[in-house]
């Protein structure tokens, strides 16, 4: 379970996230929505321990995210991920794997399997600087899964992918849910959210204005229509 209590963050005088509280059940896919500048990425950065909240707590499983050990159980794919250009895909995953304690590390065979899962098996010995945007997205997902985490945070994971890539990513995300993993993701593509998510949260001007099952929110209308209505009326 992910528990967020009273989370706040401000940059200068501007409050980006204001008193956000949220609970996400284990084994569910949670979509975090909001217009541009609503505070989605800032929230995600605090969730994975990249940014320190001004107030509030984040508990992932039994651990507070401020403890470094909590990071062993999470995977994070940033928006538009960048890598080390001179490394090959497999070398990069090996490097990521080495950052975990010995008992959590996986064999090279497992890493090759992870590359295969995201469709990069044939490019494992290719330098990352020669990767297309879609291939970088795939590698971004692969590195987030390298420790077989229980909680996976994906920031705009379907950006830059062609329709086949998007289909494959959605299947991977649903596969993770089947294996009991909790997936938290930000997305602007509401049709994907509708298709994948069990529950959603909507953030606007740093405030959480909806939290609950996606079907309950839609009330028989398309998600996009309901989302625009909610934001306009907020």
């Amino acid at each position: 379970m992910i528990n967020i209590t009273n989370l706040s963050k401000h940059y200068g005088k501007h409050k980006v996230v204001d008193g956000l509280s949220l609970t996400i059940d284990t084994g569910t896919i949670f979509g975090f929505l909001g217009p541009n500048g609503a505070g989605k990425t800032t929230t995600m950065k605090m969730l994975v321990g990249l940014s320190r909240p001004d107030a509030g707590t984040i508990t992932i499983g039994k651990n507070n995210i401020t403890e470094i050990t909590a990071k062993s159980q999470i995977g994070y794919m940033p928006e538009d991920p960048y890598f080390y250009d001179h490394l090959h895909a497999l070398e990069f995953l090996e490097f990521m794997n080495e950052l975990f304690p010995k008992n959590l590390r996986h064999s090279n065979q497992d890493l090759t399997q992870t590359l295969k899962l995201v469709g990069l098996d044939s490019a494992r010995n290719k330098k990352i600087k020669h990767f297309s945007k879609g291939m970088k997205q795939r590698l971004g997902l692969a590195q987030s899964l390298v420790n077989d985490p229980g909680y996976i945070f994906l920031d705009e994971p379907l950006d830059g992918l062609d329709p086949i890539g998007r289909r494959e990513f959605k299947e991977i995300i649903l596969g993770l849910k089947k294996r009991g993993k909790t997936v938290f993701f930000n997305s602007h593509i509401l049709s994907d959210v509708e298709e994948l998510c069990d529950a959603i949260g909507i953030i606007h001007h740093g405030h959480l204005i909806y939290e609950g099952p996606v079907k309950q929110f839609m009330k028989g209308k398309p998600l996009e229509t309901r989302f625009v209505e909610t934001i306009t009326n907020a």
Partner: protein, 253 residues
Amino acid sequence: MHNIIAIAKNTFRETIRDKILYGILAFALLFLMSTVLFGSISLGEDIKVIKDLGLAGIYVFSLIVSIFIGTSLIYKEIEKRTLYIIFSKPVSIAQFLLGKFVGLMLSIILTVALMTATYLTVVAINGGGFDYPALWSIVLLIFELSIFVALTTLFSTFTTPLAGTLYSVIILYIGHSLEMLLRYGINSGPFASFAAKIAYYLMPNLEKFNIRNEVVYGNLPSATTISFSLIYAVLYSTILLYLANIALKNQDL
């Protein structure tokens, strides 16, 4: 510890695959070989000229390598947001900085070793035999470079590579002129004397590592000098890396 090794290994791999490094190294090796020409136009002092220019060349080119790689070391990671991926894993800021520092030092030691091998070959071919004392000068150069790399690492946590280069070169210059500055300050009134004394104790005294003139004449440094220089380099680098740790901790990624 495993994180520091993993990051050091990756930094080393990244830097030695960078074409800029090979460009600088090629120039350095050409320069070291060309010292023979300068030696040949001197009057009976050819070995001394080769040694003088050779050791100075190793110093200048290793500084250029440190500047090119060091000043963008952390800045590039922040700009390209590769730090997001690293810090979402169980890695502390201190481990990251130490890993980067060790990896960069290993790359620099490798380039210095290549330049030293070329220098020793050139000296030996020109009848200077095995220039054993020069190796001590190289050891002290590596100590100095460790301070310089820690300095560039600190600057790259909060400023651009260009500004970082400028600040590092200024401190390098001051670090080699501290004795002169102190003498000048003491003779220029109480305030100048006070300021010069503060600068003398705060800035890295890099002249401690310069024994190039002595070794050209075959004079070896004492074990005390080497030990003191090592302790000074370790302490100063540790302080700079600790400051880099604070600077990066205070940055909101």
